[in-house]
Amino acid sequence: MLPNDEEQLTDRELDAILPAWKAPMAPVRMRAAVFPGGSRPWWTRLWSASVHVPVPVACCVALLLALAAWRWATPRTVYRDRIVLPAANAGADPSQLRPVTELRLRIVRSADVSN
């Protein structure tokens, strides 16, 4: 039940009472909720950064990486041998050419060739 109309506070009394009702302080966690990145430097945010990739894409990428690693780790054998002939003597007189008395084949692997 309300008091009589005659019984009431003056404006001054009311103004004095109203400030008694204080609001609590805003929680500190509010900032983190609004700005998840906060004011941290970009390089610290990298540690918590994430990339969402669909599972099939991730599987394909993993398979390709595994294949590339296997290819890189396995030594490749080159069978392309070549016959090294003596360099032709550009200034030789054709009349002085003699038939080859002995033909010797020398197989040099590509890995041994310096150039």
Binding site: M1, L2, P3, D5, E7, Q8, L9, T10, D11, R12, E13, L14, D15, A16, I17, L18, P19, A20, W21, K22, A23, P24, M25, A26, P27, M30, R31, A33, V34, F35, S39
Partner: protein, 166 residues
């Protein structure tokens, strides 16, 4: 003004406003967060020509509090027709809770006008802008709110005099 600057300057005022409207710390926190998230998501929605950042944030907070009110009390109108019973001072442990109860007993539209004017220092013109009413209406709501509080809080006259004497 960046959203971070706006947060630093106004988060306490927005939180206090939401708390006094809802009288629940958890709801006030949600409302204040939503206000600033709305600003972060769409900063272009704030037009400095239409008022200060504080008024913009108060408008969002008011709408969210209104939504909370409607969700909590479906079917009950948010207007001045609602006349709750007077408070019983014996249930109030101190003057602070008595004031809180007395303000809570006001019709919603009077409540928000009183809270914005008395506690947040918003002018009548700015309140009119926030609540979408004309200044005369806001002035009338504020007058009726104070009139009612003067009667409801009469039991605390001594406390008021003590505060006034300080």
């Amino acid at each position: 003004m960046t959203p971070e600057n706006a947060f630093d300057q106004h988060h306490q005022a927005v939180y206090s406003f939401a708390f006094r409207l809802t009288r629940r710390a958890d709801v006030a926190e949600d409302i204040a967060q939503e206000c600033f998230l709305a600003l972060v998501r769409a900063p272009h929605r704030y037009d400095p020509a239409r008022g200060s950042m504080k008024l913009f944030l108060f408008s969002i907070a008011r709408n969210l509090a209104l939504k909370h009110y409607r969700d909590d009390r479906p079917g009950e109108p948010y207007d001045e027709g609602f006349q709750p019973a007077g408070i019983d001072p014996r249930q109030s442990l101190d003057v602070a809770s008595a004031v809180a109860s007395a303000v809570a007993s006001l019709p919603e539209l009077q409540q928000e006008a009183l809270i914005l004017f008395e506690y947040e220092g918003v002018t009548l013109e700015e309140i009119a802008q926030i609540v979408g009413a004309d200044t005369g209406t806001v002035k009338s709501r504020l007058h009726r709110a104070r009139e009612r509080l003067r009667r409801v809080l009469v039991e605390y006259r001594k406390v008021g005099n003590a505060h006034a004497a300080k």
